[in-house]
Symmetry: C2
Subunit: 465 residues, 2 copies
């Protein structure tokens, strides 16, 4: 039986300690592939902890692809390569007639990038900004450090250690005005490399690489993440992935896929993985999965994250963590890149995180978005009950994937929705290369309150009945 | 005799109205090359204005290269091509012995990019930031416009119309986090073009172009600005110049040179001039010269300016004005470039300019820098009196050029200064290609107060006696 001594002084909850312990056992081979885990009840008894603690730990392990539940049998350690059977595509229905031109103006626009910026804590931010302007004069009148304010980088390091089990040095962090900006810088640090990007994925990413003259290939994702076989075939040197919450498919990259990608990277000296941890803070059931960065033993992961999404889009603060080999490329050139983020806002953000406001804000936003998601889901339930749509992407992020069960094409779905005043987006919009005609639309719920989402969902019920 | 009707309702002072009137007469050919202007006294009498007004107008025209004074004869309209005889180079002196290694730590570092950021109006900025955070919610929670806040762009347009005689549309302006960032974007709008940059000039500029893979040639500047013959020989498509105050030589580009560059640009459809108007606000005697942008009739000038230099380096707000043809390239791609400047700071800057604080701040800074310059000049006067150095670059900007009259090499000057605790920079540091050994060092005075500058100057007097 698994025996773990809990660290009573740790700030980590017990379920997380247990989860980490089992995860490390699996990673080290102490729990081999196919091994059966003790039942939840017996483990709880054995460790004298509550059943709930074990349940949470197992759920996290299952969500990250370390273990699987076999019904009425128990929990088993998963092999490194695991692939679910793809869901068979529904038979396409004939296309619907075109909506009348100049139809109803859209009352609800369900963008994936819409956020509830109205919840931004203006008063707190204003007070901390005032404190910075009054007290941080020395920092504020100096030429900015190209990598960003040292204290803020130290604060980010502390935050990552506490919440993401990541332990970079402050000097590995580069703060910049948005992930697009930082990605542009990265293409300069990795000249003449070929990039692999997720298909489907961010259109902006493809356009940024294109504008930088960086060659790239879209590599299809399956339900575990970027396909490693196709990645190899693409002969790319750098792959850019969203493991925490694949955009736009909203899936968590499985642990075996994570390890496969890390293997791929470690095989050649010039290979890197760019891990875009976008929206990792918006998971509704479980804590975010382990990052590629934290699993990486070969120092090939460049980690990206942004504060624009969690605070407000008009605040342009993102950062990347460079592994040592890339830091060696960056450091001699760093004077070339003046810091693009205002020192005033860096100091204010430092105070915001240090004072615990950021954590509280995230918790608050998670609750708000969870309520919004629930309201939207509840409103769409009639369509699900009547077998009209299937919904995916509920566990994380700020949008849902709505698939037509009778096999109505995405164009028809978009058109019908538009006729009822709701703007949704065909999944094919997120493809870089050939855009297949899918039966799925993407609907963001982050920007509308619960009442509006109820009304939007009701309109969709009328549109797709 | 010149006859002008003054606009009594205009906010422009009379001397400026007069200056503009004569400038336009010269430009239109109404006053041909070589024509003699009326004497200051007779024109003042003729127009019933004060002598002082005419003097100011003539001084401005002379500073911009429209007219010249011939001693005891009067003022004459200058021809389009005008070139002063280059000053003969002083005979080099033998190099000085090396300073002892690990010598005195530098007490005074005279960097060209140092500014008196301590004068930043923290209290005002803080108040306006608070007002923005309280009142501009709608603007602050929206996704930023890729070109920057519309109201701020309108405000910049008003400012440029009032102070720089420039009349772009708000939609031609792109706000970004620093001129380096914007220049990088410009290289993407002008792919495969060859750039010509000033030699000597900004090292950062060369490095930015290099990192973007943009081919470029350093083109020597003479005492009027970038050499147009060598510019043609370089076969560049885009030239980047600092006409208001050539960096680091501190000269105003002559009007004939301005017109020559504009002619060069208008000859081919794909040619552009990038006008970096850096430090144009720091002129001590006269108002800034007319910009290339305002003289341009073929819409080939991309104008750059920054607020980082005039406010504080930790505030990253710069902008560029795109001419219509480049706007046509930019607009379809604009969603590719998320705005890199925080909305909060854009709104605060808007309030800062609109409230007249920016103008007052600039006036105050001009006075502070003028005092610093005077203190530094006064401290260096003994060296001038003893024929040890000649000083240039006094009219504008935040640094001086100090040339050894006995022909001591720049390396020896730098070394001797370092021995006395003062860091100055050899002019050759600012060359991109072959770095000639000059007899000139560059000394920035912006970052030190008058007392420190007195002491730094005294140390230089000992170093170079």
């Amino acid at each position: 039986m698994l025996t773990i001594t809990f660290d009573e002084t740790s700030r980590r909850p017990r379920y997380e300690q247990l989860y980490r312990f089992i995860r490390d056992e699996i990673a080290s081979g102490g729990l081999p592939v196919g091994a059966k885990l003790p039942s939840k009840r017996s483990l709880a008894k054995h460790l004298s902890i509550s059943l709930n603690t074990v349940e949470n730990a197992y759920a996290q392990l299952a969500a990250e692809g370390f273990i699987e539940t076999v019904e009425k049998k128990g929990y088993y350690v998963l092999p490194v390569v695991r692939r679910k059977q793809p869901t068979p595509a529904p038979t396409p229905a004939p296309e619907q007639p075109a909506a009348r031109p100049g139809g109803t103006a859209s009352a609800f626009v369900l963008r994936t990038n819409a956020v509830d910026a109205g919840s931004f804590p203006f008063a707190t931010w204003s007070r901390l900004m005032r404190d910075s302007l009054r007290e941080d004069h020395t920092s504020l009148v100096r030429e900015l450090h190209p990598q960003g304010d040292r204290d803020l980088r130290r604060q980010i390091v502390d935050y990552l250690a506490e919440y993401r089990n990541m332990h970079p040095a402050p000097d590995q962090i580069v703060i910049g005005a948005g992930t697009t900006y930082l990605l542009g810088m990265l293409t300069e640090l990795l000249p003449k490399r070929k990039f692999a990007i997720e298909e489907p994925g961010y259109t902006m990413l493809a356009r940024t690489l294109q504008s930088r003259g960086a060659p790239f290939d879209p590599v299809p994702v399956d339900d575990e993440g970027m396909d490693p076989v196709l990645l190899r075939l693409s002969e790319a040197d750098v792959c850019v992935v969203t493991p925490a919450n694949q955009f736009p498919l909203c899936q968590v990259m499985s642990i075996s896929r994570r390890l496969q990608l890390l293997d791929w990277a470690s095989e050649r000296r010039h290979r890197y993985i760019v891990e875009d941890d976008y929206d990792s803070d918006y998971r509704y059931a479980l804590k975010p999965a382990s990052t590629l960065y934290s699993l990486d033993r070969s120092q090939r992961v460049v980690y990206f994250n942004t504060f624009a999404r969690t605070l407000t889009p008009s605040l342009r603060i993102a950062y990347m963590i460079l592994p040592p080999a890339l830091l060696d490329v960056y450091l001699p050139r760093k004077q070339l890149y003046s810091c693009t983020v205002s020192g005033f806002e860096q100091r204010t953000l430092l105070r915001f995180i240090r004072g615990g406001h950021y954590e509280r804000h995230l918790n608050r936003m998670r609750t708000i978005y969870k309520r919004r998601r629930n309201a939207f889901l509840a409103g769409l339930q009639p369509l699900v009950d009547r077998g009209k749509i299937a919904i995916a992407g509920m566990e994380a992020g700020l949008h849902l994937l709505l698939s037509s069960m009778p096999g109505r094409g995405e164009k028809a779905m978009v058109k019908k929705a538009a006729e009822k005043g709701v703007t949704v987006f065909g999944l094919s919009d997120f493809f870089h290369a050939e855009a297949p005609q899918t039966h799925t639309v993407v609907a963001g719920f982050g920007g509308l309150d619960e009442q509006a989402l109820h009304r939007a969902a009701a309109a969709l019920c009328r549109a797709w009945r």
